[in-house]
């Protein structure tokens, strides 16, 4: 089996998940495809450096993809000249709302402002620590905390009131 065949034997079962991870971080399918392509080439070129064999591949591939996506996000965020999204937070949230998240989670998260969405996805989908999110996005730790706090409030409100606009998920 050639290196290419070995790579794709491990890669193909993960491709759908990887695609959605990129989509969740970057917010749209076109950018997700570009990021996945870049990450896949990086991974293939570094394939001989994979430690731990087939079992380690999914986590290794995800790390490469998340790094690729956050690099893209950093460049993108540098060119968005807007005020702090925290300034637009809606604090009118009831504390005892129903937690109707599950299959609706992505529909609610995708509606968030990009800065909130990225923090939420990195924290709750990719399980990054807050310090790691701050490093990945090149923002202060305090900003990560306040964005996460605001994003969760918005998500709870949307999931409670059913304002989430459902879009067809693949």
């Amino acid at each position: 089996m050639t290196a290419e065949e070995q790579f794709f034997a491990l890669y193909k079962p993960e491709a759908g998940r990887l695609y959605r991870i990129a989509w969740a971080i970057l917010g749209n399918e076109a950018d997700a495809g570009d990021a996945l392509q870049e990450a896949t080439i990086r991974a293939y070129r570094a394939f001989d450096q994979l430690k731990g064999g087939a079992a380690a591949f999914p986590a290794w591939m995800r790390r490469i993809l998340v790094n690729t996506c956050t690099q893209i996000l950093r460049k993108r965020m540098r060119v968005i000249p807007v005020g702090r999204p925290e300034d637009f937070a809606d604090d009118q949230v009831a504390p005892d709302m129903a937690l109707a998240v599950d299959s609706d989670a992505w529909d609610a998260v995708r509606e968030l402002d990009e800065r909130y969405r990225a923090v939420v996805v990195l924290r709750f989908l990719n399980d990054l620590q807050l310090e790691d999110i701050a490093t990945a996005l090149d923002i202060p730790l305090g900003t990560v905390k306040s964005r996460l706090h605001t994003a969760l409030k918005q998500l709870k409100e949307r999931l409670q009131t059913g304002h989430t606009t459902r879009r067809g998920a693949m």
């Binding site: 996945l36 070129r45 599950d102 989670a105 992505w106 989908l125 969760l152 998500l155």
Partner: protein, 241 residues
């Protein structure tokens, strides 16, 4: 600690990534503030459900077939790396070539400059590199010139043979003597080739400081034979023409 501050720190609190004193302050606040305690419980459950929901959505993902085909094609393209990523290979080849050239220049070769120069394509360049100062004497037409770097030293006098020029009629050996008293006997050469004495014809000398350069003519010796020059009866240098 204010309620807003506590609520912003809740996620870090849940993941135990706060310093002990900050964690203790939140513990203390939650114990005394019912609103924040309820918010903390809600947020913990909400975060858990959000994480499960997003992971469930990801697990259901399918990579679009056209993107998968594009990815496979891009891997095929990635097989051949651009030249700047292959430079170590080129550097390796250049290194081996450089080592070979240095070795070539450092060994004692038996080829005459004429033989080297007659090689196709690179012959003249190689002859220049191997024999940078090899010029046939004007009075020895069609001579081939070989640079030699043989030396011997006895009693403070150093003999160095540096060049042999040979044509159909004459073999001219140029050698230098440094130090000591250089007189007619001290510069007198004898030449042996394959245990045979080579007839001596004559010599010229040139003195610069303590260096005497001697140009001695002998009968020609066929190429490739070991030749031993003895000067003053005590200094010996063996070389090939």
């Amino acid at each position: 600690m204010l309620c807003d501050q506590v609520q912003i720190e809740l996620d870090a609190y849940f993941t135990s990534s706060l310093p002990p004193e900050a964690e203790a302050a939140i513990d203390s606040h939650l114990a005394s503030c019912q609103g924040c305690a309820e918010e903390a419980a809600t947020m913990r459950e909400f975060g858990h459900n959000l994480s499960s929901g997003l992971k469930h959505w990801v697990d259901q993902g399918v990579c679009p077939p056209e993107l998968m085909a594009q990815l496979e094609a891009s891997i095929c393209g990635a097989r051949r790396q651009p030249w700047w990523q292959r430079w170590p290979t080129y550097a390796g080849i250049a290194g081996v070539a450089a080592v070979f050239l240095v070795a070539l220049l450092s060994v004692r070769l038996n080829f005459t400059v004429g033989q080297v120069a007659s090689l196709p394509f690179v012959g003249s360049l190689a002859a220049q590199l191997l024999y940078p100062n090899a010029e046939a004497p004007a009075d020895l037409p069609d001579a081939t010139v070989v640079k030699v770097d043989g030396s011997d030293e006895q009693n403070g006098v150093k003999l160095t043979v540096d060049q042999i020029a040979t044509n159909m009629y004459t073999m001219r050996v140029r050698y230098l003597l440094r130090g000591g008293q250089v007189n007619a006997r001290a510069i007198q050469p004898e030449l042996m080739a394959t245990n045979r004495s080579v007839p001596f014809r004559g010599l010229t000398t040139q003195t610069a400081g303590d260096v005497v350069t001697v140009t001695a003519d002998f009968d020609p010796v066929s190429p490739g034979q070991p030749i031993t020059l003895t000067v003053g009866g005590t200094l010996h240098v063996t070389f090939h023409n």
